[in-house]
């Protein structure tokens, strides 16, 4: 639905030849660091920003000449942008009034969506007096009330505290599923993006650098940058021969189908198992207790620091020397060096 969209603000290339398609009922998350153009992409689709090049389509129709208010899309803004001079009911009813529905049906629909987001009996509350989580749900209710054919959410959990950020994504997904619309969900949080999506695209400096199902992206990041952005550590160049990779940390097994040559590889932090005969040796320099596991930082001679997560018994302490083995199948071979 978005083809080759580019947009510059002065010297800054905000969007650079972006292509994006969303299937019926699909939930796509757009992930990227701040300044990667995520919000601008939503603004272009909504019609709030006009691209320098490229086009936005819906069902094969070019939307270039359709103004914002006739596109029939829903957009939930970062920080919500609720109308401060209107109460909860009036906020949610706004889009319905714009559709020219009669007041009886408006009232019924408002009650319905408020019920859906869990805000019953809040109709007459002043929006500025609501908590962050309540405002977030009013904003969601307002966006979905007119039954948009496409729902866009811009950092919907951005300004909420940690507890809500962990609980709300699933609820949000269920609500989006319930109304059956296609949805684009923008966030800078990897866990949030991968956790709820049918498909995730990753933006970097206005370009799409990854596009795929979350589990596929996780199993095989398309580039080193994406791997690092998704939180992978222990990235390094390696020479692969006969199913083993020679890394600065030692020799580790890789998928046998990889042709011999020079690559960059990722050793997942969870790939390590304590083993007196292991090929990786290191000196524990730091220890971070994380409840169900322990994260260690190891100094390996002639190599960058290595991060390792595992269950240990007994817990190693800084100063201990360890020998580790790498489980087959847990080394990611990256297709490029970028």
């Amino acid at each position: 639905m978005v083809e080759g969209v580019s947009l510059r603000y002065g010297e800054l290339q905000v969007l650079d030849a972006i292509d994006l398609t969303v299937a019926d009922g699909e939930l796509v998350t757009v992930l990227g660091p701040s300044g990667s153009g995520k919000s601008t992409l939503l603004r272009v689709i909504a019609g709030l920003a006009i691209p320098d090049r490229g086009s936005v389509h819906w069902d094969g129709h070019d939307l270039a000449r359709i103004p914002v208010h006739e596109r029939g899309f829903g957009l939930m803004f970062q920080d919500f942008a609720l109308f401060p001079h209107r109460d909860v009911f009036e906020n949610v009813a706004f889009g319905l009034r714009m559709q020219g529905r009669d007041s009886v049906r408006i009232a019924a629909r408002v009650r319905e969506v408020l019920e859906l987001v869990g805000l019953r009996k809040m109709e007459t509350r002043t929006v500025t007096r609501l908590s962050g989580g309540e405002q977030q749900r009013v904003a969601l209710a307002r966006a979905i009330a007119p039954s948009p054919r496409l729902l866009m959410l811009d950092e919907p959990l951005g300004s909420l505290d940690r507890d809500l950020r962990e609980r709300l994504p699933l609820q949000l997904r269920d609500i989006v599923r319930a109304i059956g619309a296609s949805a684009i969900y923008v966030t800078h949080d990897q866990e949030e993006a991968l956790g709820i999506a049918d498909r995730t695209i990753i933006l970097r400096e206005g370009r799409v650098v990854a596009d795929g199902a979350p589990d596929r992206l996780w199993a095989q990041p398309p580039s080193e940058w994406v791997a690092r952005f998704l939180g992978f550590r222990n990235v390094s160049p390696a020479l692969i021969r006969d199913g083993r990779a020679a890394t600065p940390w030692g020799s580790v097994p890789v998928d046998g189908s990889v042709p011999d040559g020079e690559y960059r590889v990722v050793l997942r932090t969870t790939a390590f198992v304590p083993d007196p005969a292991g090929t990786v040796r290191g000196l524990v320099t730091a220890r971070l207790f994380r409840g169900d596991h322990v994260r260690l930082e190891l100094a390996v001679e002639g190599a960058p620091a290595l991060e390792v997560e595992a269950r240990w018994d007994p817990l190693p302490a800084p100063g201990d020397r360890l020998r580790l083995r790498v489980e087959p199948g847990s080394v990611v071979v990256l297709p490029d060096s970028g």
């Binding site: 208010h69 899309f73 957009l75 920080d79 401060p84 706004f94 966006a143």
Partner: protein, 546 residues
């Protein structure tokens, strides 16, 4: 203790004259044959005058708001080169003396307008522009004068509105117009209402502009008080009119206060940083371009024409107007060269600076340091002369201070005293926030570092207060230079100020007198602009409560 001298000053030179007006107005009832206050109020002429006063103020307010809203929008939402400079420039009309504004519009809209010269060149038989004496001239001058108030107040709130609120409405299906009507306008309404109330109050009490640009048919209460006093010499009727004026202003202030309470909308104000964008597409470039162009035409054209006219003499351009200022007699029939008025004005302004700074700072320190009922009372009392019209003030002076115990009518001190009354509220308003901004922590830090209380005051409070004194003095200087309404009542014929000299020159026929008036106005404009720019420099970024 510090508050006592200013309090005494206010009682003597404000409360006493006002009380005299009240007495004079009410005494008409007792005196047989004299017109009582009610007779005057119910007189048909009074009703016409009051009606016109309200009507022109309402029209001026409406036009100013309509004219300034696009500017407020452009300033709030777009960034462009020279914006800061332009923003500062837009306030110049508001600080100009009314006489200068009136002169500028006479130059632009009168028979001597360069627009007419242009039309004659193009073959028009008669002058096309002859708006002097009409309601239109008054309205245009008021819009010019008050534009900055709406631009600043509404633009300030607008730039703090989150643009996404309006975008949210757009995405939900509202057209541009509906989104503005239903979302932006309601959020701006309190700001618009307060700006409109201020414009209404100013134009309701407008005097110089109407006296100079209007005609007998366009008399407001202020002008009528002046006419009744100076031409008809009917003091009781003038007093009754002054009472009506005071009552109206009090009522307006009351309504304004109520309005502010009722209209407040609770909203989270967003940062103004990321909402100002360069105009990118054709439509917004058009909007910005058209708005800035019309803003420039409205605000710059009258002043440019004023300067141009000041150099116009006979057929060409020259310094004739300026030269004639230094000659006595002349066509103006003045006893003294008009240029002497400049010296007078500077002397009066200097005296005003001293009195207003000393009294104003005493009040400011009293108000800032002590927050009891006494300081609040002084604060409120200080604002009253500002709410009272200048004409009422001048009228009060001539009815109250012309006989024992206080016979000051022939004293040259009368003018700086009147100017001090007008300037003191500005001085106090400008300096109290500066003084209040001194953090107690600083004094504590100085004390901990070993400074004695006296030393602490000198090192911490002293510098702030002396800067405040500069700012206050600058205000007093600018106010004194431009004051017209009160001065017109009390100035001695042989000791005119610059605005009075301009007024007299404009009342005389002939091209040379007109050129002299324009020259004098240009000088006054430059003097005022310079002092205002200096105030802005001194004031820096300190918070002020205007």
């Amino acid at each position: 203790m510090l508050g006592a001298p200013p309090l005494l000053f206010l009682l003597l030179f404000f409360a006493y004259p006002v009380a005299t007006i009240v007495g004079l107005g009410l005494s008409g009832d007792a005196a047989a044959g004299g017109a009582g206050v009610l007779d005057t109020w119910l007189d048909e002429r009074t009703r016409d005058v009051l009606g016109f006063t309200v009507w022109q103020a309402a029209l001026s307010t409406l036009l100013t708001v309509l004219a300034a809203l696009p500017g407020a929008y452009v300033f709030a939402r777009y960034s462009f080169r020279g914006k800061g400079l332009l923003r500062a420039a837009t306030t110049i009309p508001f600080v100009l003396p009314t006489v200068v504004v009136a002169s500028a519009f006479l130059a632009l809209l009168g028979p001597r307008s360069p627009l007419n010269g242009l039309a004659t060149m193009l073959g028009a038989p008669d002058p096309v522009v002859r708006l002097e004496g009409s309601l239109w001239a008054i309205l245009l001058a008021h819009v010019f004068y008050m534009y900055a108030v709406v631009l600043r107040l509404v633009g300030g709130v607008w730039s703090n509105l989150d643009p996404r609120t309006e975008e949210a409405a757009r995405v939900l299906g509202a057209s541009r117009w509906i989104a503005f009507r239903q979302v932006t306008l309601p959020l701006l309404r309190p700001a618009i209402a307060s700006a409109a109330a201020i414009v209404f109050l100013f134009t309701f009490t407008s005097f110089g502009v109407i006296l100079l640009l209007g005609s007998p048919g366009t008399a407001t209460l202020e002008v009528e008080i002046y006419r009744t006093t100076a031409l008809l010499l009917d003091l009781p009727v003038a007093a009754a009119l002054a009472l009506l004026q005071m009552a109206s202003v009090a009522l307006l202030l009351l309504i304004y206060g109520r309005l502010q309470d009722r209209l407040a909308i609770e909203q989270r104000l967003g940062p103004a940083a990321d909402v100002e964008r360069p105009a990118r597409d054709r439509r917004s470039r058009l909007v910005v371009g058209a708005t800035l162009t019309s803003m420039g035409l409205l605000l710059a054209l009258p002043l440019l024409v004023l300067v141009e006219r000041s150099f116009a003499s006979g057929d060409g351009h020259g310094l004739g107007g300026y030269g004639a200022l230094f000659e006595a007699g002349g066509g103006a029939g003045a006893f003294v060269p008009p240029a002497e008025a400049i010296g007078n004005s500077l002397l009066f302004a200097a005296a005003t600076v001293v009195m207003a700074s000393v009294l104003g700072l005493m009040s400011a320190v009293a108000i800032a340091y002590r927050r009891g009922w006494a300081s609040r009372g002084l604060d409120a009392l200080l604002m009253l002369p500002l709410g009272t019209s200048a004409v009422t003030l001048g009228f009060g002076f001539i009815v109250a201070l012309d006989e024992p115990p206080l016979d000051l009518r022939t004293s040259v001190l009368l003018i700086p005293i009147a100017h001090t009354l007008v300037a003191m509220p500005f001085v106090v308003r400008a300096t109290v926030p500066l003084i209040r901004a001194i953090q107690p922590r600083l004094r504590e830090a100085a004390a901990v570092l070993g400074a004695s209380p006296r030393r602490t005051w000198l090192e911490v409070d002293g510098p702030v207060i002396s800067r405040a004194a500069l700012v206050g003095g600058g205000f007093a200087f600018a106010v004194s230079l431009g004051e017209f309404g009160a001065t017109l009542f009390i100035a001695r014929p042989d000791v005119p100020t610059v605005p009075i000299a301009i007024f007299r020159l404009l009342g005389q026929p002939g091209a040379l007198n007109f050129a002299q008036a324009m020259a004098m106005s240009t000088i006054l404009m430059v003097l005022t602009a310079v002092s205002v720019l200096l105030i802005e420099r001194w004031r820096g970024h300190a918070a002020t409560a205007f």
